[in-house]
């Protein structure tokens, strides 16, 4: 438990700097990835006045329910100002469920969370938040607090949480910012008394200790949980999953502080997103409703074991990286050359995303085995990953000699290849693919930014793939250039949990 504190103290300057860099990267990621608050200061609508004039007050005549609805959609300052509009409006503010967004309290109010906040501004905003929580007696719909250095005054944060618990808040975003950062102190366990909480996002905290909690402590209405750079133990996370009967979305981001072994046991969980985190192992033990498992960017060295157990509805899985992830079924790891048997397959996956270093022999060899575990994939995304120094010459004949892969042969309809550079190893793989894929309908090749001098050059390289293809059924080919730098796919949680779209199909064209 004390390891976190020691972690900071016993780091030397260089390591501390590296961790600091990771954390500021995590912070900017988090700000970008969070869902937006429902209320905005920027979206204004120009009013149109009726040409007849008449000057009749239609607005005050509306039923109270509508007035409350209107006021609850206003940013907090404007909502407070409605109290002086007229006699009819005076009581409305106090009973309207408000959205408290502390970025609106900055001068000038803004929607986006600022990257940097002055100490003075932070204190002013925190004081304003305290006053508002004390003065507004009505319910609070959601609280979006991300602009203050909360560790400067922990008792104040504890008071806020108690206010929020009493007001029956349903969405809470408590986003701390370093520095100071006291990850040795637990957050108060007031969250467990927020029975109406449906969405909770925490960043840069230490999760409350679940050891001493009473038996009834639970999250009965929690549907979405985001833990961003939160220091949390495995058993705490198990506790949360066990006590959240309707949890659908789980996001873990920037988990850098403790070793975590994720065990997914939940009868309601639908989508799990893990970004930029250092997770020791992920075991999908029993998740009958799990549809999406998204892993992205493991910053630190080391590998992560992924064990897929009971997940009959798992449709979307990615980004698996043979270099960093070890797929495991039962007790056996999937290795290069393993013949995959029926027990070690995940038949439900339809959309798969892989990150492969084509320059590394070992990784390339793993690819057929990995693909063999997912026999029914219809859409495949392959991201080419760069390596610093190539390890030996890639074996180009490997693909010519490779056996058939079930999904490639009979299921894949679309392949999207990201970060194409025209290297031999890549071309060898693509040739294998194009020749073996019998029902391929679309092939999209996204060229790395600035790699080719012209699209014609890229096109010509790609065309060579089709030279040997003797077959009649043609597939649509699309070659585009990516506008993004290497590995720079901005992510947000809503894209991951939007079940109507494929989150991997994100191509920014120049």
């Amino acid at each position: 438990m004390a390891s976190q504190v020691d972690m900071f103290d016993c780091l030397n300057g260089g390591e501390r700097q590296e961790l600091g860099a990771h954390m500021s990267y995590a912070l900017s990621n988090i700000h970008r990835a969070l869902p937006c608050p429902a209320v905005s200061v920027a979206r204004r609508l120009c009013f149109l006045s009726d040409s007849d004039g008449g000057g009749v007050d239609r607005l005050s005549g509306l039923p109270a329910a509508l007035l409350i609805n209107i006021v609850s959609r206003l940013p907090i300052k404007d909502a407070a100002r409605t109290a002086v509009l007229s006699r009819r409006w005076r009581p409305v503010w106090r009973s309207a469920p408000l959205v408290l967004c502390d970025s609106h309290l900055l001068r000038p109010g803004q929607d986006k969370i600022p990257g940097y906040v002055d100490r003075a501004d932070s204190d002013a905003v925190a004081a304003a938040v305290s006053r508002i929580l004390a003065a507004h007696h009505g319910p609070l719909r959601s609280a979006f607090l991300a602009c203050t250095y909360m560790d400067r005054d922990r008792p104040r944060v504890a008071r806020w949480l108690q206010h929020l618990a009493i007001k029956g808040v349903s969405e809470l975003f408590l986003i701390n910012r370093p520095w100071p950062l006291h990850l040795d102190k637990h957050l108060p366990s007031t969250f467990f008394s927020m029975a109406t909480l449906t969405r909770l996002y925490l960043a840069f905290w230490r999760f409350p200790d679940t050891d001493g909690l009473p038996r009834g402590a639970a999250f009965p209405s929690l549907r979405e949980l985001g833990l961003c750079s939160v220091s949390i133990e495995t058993r705490d996370l198990d506790f949360i999953l066990a006590r959240s009967p309707v949890l659908q979305n789980l996001c873990l981001e920037g988990h850098l502080f403790t070793k975590l072994r994720l065990r997914l046991v939940s009868h309601s969980l639908r989508c799990v997103q893990i970004h930029f985190s250092n997770i020791e192992s992920i075991a999908v033990v029993d998740a009958p409703l799990l549809e999406r498992l998204i892993l992205k960017d493991m910053p630190l060295a080391g590998s992560c074991r992924i064990n897929v157990g009971n997940a009959p509805l798992l449709r979307l899985f990615g980004y698996i990286n043979p270099a960093k992830h070890v797929l495991q079924f039962g007790n056996t790891n999937v290795k290069a050359g393993t013949l995959v048997n029926a027990g070690a397959m995940v038949p439900a996956v339809k959309i798969l995303a892989l990150e492969v270093c084509f320059g590394v022999r070992k990784n390339v060899k793993m690819l057929p085995s990995f693909l063999g575990c997912f026999p029914n994939v219809e859409r495949l995304h392959i991201h080419r990953k760069r390596i610093d120094q190539p390890t030996g010459r890639p074996n180009l004949k490997f693909w010519q000699e490779a056996g058939d892969v079930e999904c490639v042969k009979s299921h894949i309809k679309m392949l999207v290849y990201h970060d194409f550079r025209g290297e031999k190893s890549e071309l060898a793989f693509l040739k294998f693919f194009v020749e073996r894929a019998q029902i391929l309908e679309r092939l999209v090749i996204v060229c790395a930014n600035g790699c080719f001098n012209s699209m014609a050059e890229a096109n010509s390289k790609v065309k060579t793939l089709f030279a040997g293809k003797k077959d009649t059924k043609c597939c649509a080919l699309q070659v585009v250039e990516s506008a993004l730098g290497e590995g720079g796919i901005p992510w947000n949680y809503q894209r991951g949990s939007d079940f109507s779209h494929d989150p991997f199909a994100f191509i920014v064209q120049t």
Binding site: F47, D50, G55, D57, L66, S86, S130, R131, P155
Partner: protein, 380 residues
């Protein structure tokens, strides 16, 4: 795709229509699937079976006027088609609310009447976006709102965020109570002062004669009192030492802290003194010029509230320990729970309290770093 499905079930010729009648008598017909998109109409059809012919048209609620109805039907017609993307729907909605404010208000009202929740939210959102960012004057201009608040009422939120009358009353109660305590204190001080003066002069003389410093005069006096005057034994020593501190305390500011710490650590201490901690409030609040009737009411309120407070203290749930709580505040709290005296209204910092069984009594008394009070009390 949905169209072709419909075609299988319902050939074009047999498309059914629903008849709707507005409160002004006008009747119109509309395609069934469009009308069914409105929950209210759907329920009417299911419940009463009306709407299938011109004579048995569904009578719409009064707040749905014909203009709003046609807008609503346009909305339903667009959104009931399933194949549309979110982007298309959003851009339709954007254009849809670009109507003048009067129509918008009527539309919101009509949508509420027909229980069409998405449209209610859309119109209220649009009205909110019009109101947002504007000063109250501008808003009154746009919507022709009557300016019927007095200047004083308008200013209140700016001056005192706790503009709830209950809050103001309670604040006054406390201030009043404090004042009383203070006065009682002063009386005692005056008494002790008198006695002290007498004694001191004697003691001083004695000390001087004996060669002790002035500071020890008090203690010597104490000893002497113990030996000689049994009656005032309990009170005097405490008062002797407390008196200088009290004088400062009466002046009331945060600096009292250190002295108060001394007070609470004294072994002999009357209950009155314990609560004389600090009065970091604006003295101006006390001059409320209340008439006797109000005073009675206030006294009643105070008694009421303190009763609740005692209940609350008894059933207090687990709260987070303050990390910055000074030692004397803790001691005062302990004394409060034990004392349950009418003067036990010392506003120390205790956080939100929640009584689940008896509804919510939630009293937050806090003392900010500048000595402000956020006093919010709600009882139900």
């Amino acid at each position: 795709m949905s169209e072709s499905e419909l075609a299988v079930i319902k050939p074009e010729a047999l498309k059914t229509y629903i008849w709707l009648q507005c409160f002004d008598g006008s009747i119109q017909q509309v395609e069934e699937e469009v009308a069914l998109f409105c929950p209210w109409i759907y329920r009417e059809i299911m419940k009463n079976g009306t709407g299938s012919s011109k004579n048995h048209a569904i009578v719409l609620p009064e707040r749905v006027n014909p203009a709003s109805l046609s807008l609503i039907l346009d909305y339903c017609r667009f959104h009931q088609v399933t194949g549309r993307s979110n982007k298309e729907r959003k851009s339709f909605d954007e254009k849809f609310v670009r109507i003048d404010t009067e129509k918008l208000c009527k539309l919101a009202s009509a949508a509420l009447g027909l229980q069409l929740r998405p449209l209610v939210d859309l119109t209220c959102g649009a009205l909110a976006r019009i109101i947002g960012g504007k000063t109250p004057d501008e808003v009154r201009d746009i919507f022709h709102l009557p300016d019927d608040l007095t200047e004083e009422e308008k200013l209140e939120p700016l001056k005192n965020i706790n503009d709830d009358p209950t809050i103001r009353l309670l604040n006054r109660l406390y201030a009043k109570k404090r004042k009383e305590l203070q006065e009682r204190q002063k009386l005692k001080d005056v008494q002790t002062e008198k006695e002290q003066k007498d004694e001191r002069s004697l003691d001083e003389l004695l000390c001087f004669i004996n060669g002790d410093g002035g500071s020890r005069g008090g203690k010597a006096a104490k000893n002497k009192k113990k030996n000689k005057r049994r009656k005032d034994q309990a009170k005097n020593p405490a008062k002797a030492n407390a008196e200088p501190a009290n004088k400062e305390g009466a002046a009331c500011v945060v600096q009292c802290k250190a002295d108060n710490g001394n007070i609470s650590r004294l072994p002999h201490q009357s209950p009155d003194l314990q609560d004389d901690i600090e009065y970091p409030f604006d003295e101006a609040d006390l001059d409320d010029g209340l008439d006797p009737a109000m005073r009675e009411e206030i006294d009643r309120e105070v008694a009421d509230f303190e009763m609740k407070l005692n209940l609350v203290w008894g059933e207090r749930m687990l709260l987070e320990q303050e990390q910055r709580v000074e030692s004397h505040v803790n001691k005062a709290k302990v004394q409060l729970t034990g004392a349950a005296a009418p003067d036990a209204l010392a506003y120390e910092f205790f956080s939100c309290v929640q009584l689940r069984e008896k509804g919510l009594i939630y009293a937050v008394f806090s003392r900010g770093t500048k000595g402000e009070i956020y006093t919010v009390a709600i009882s139900c």
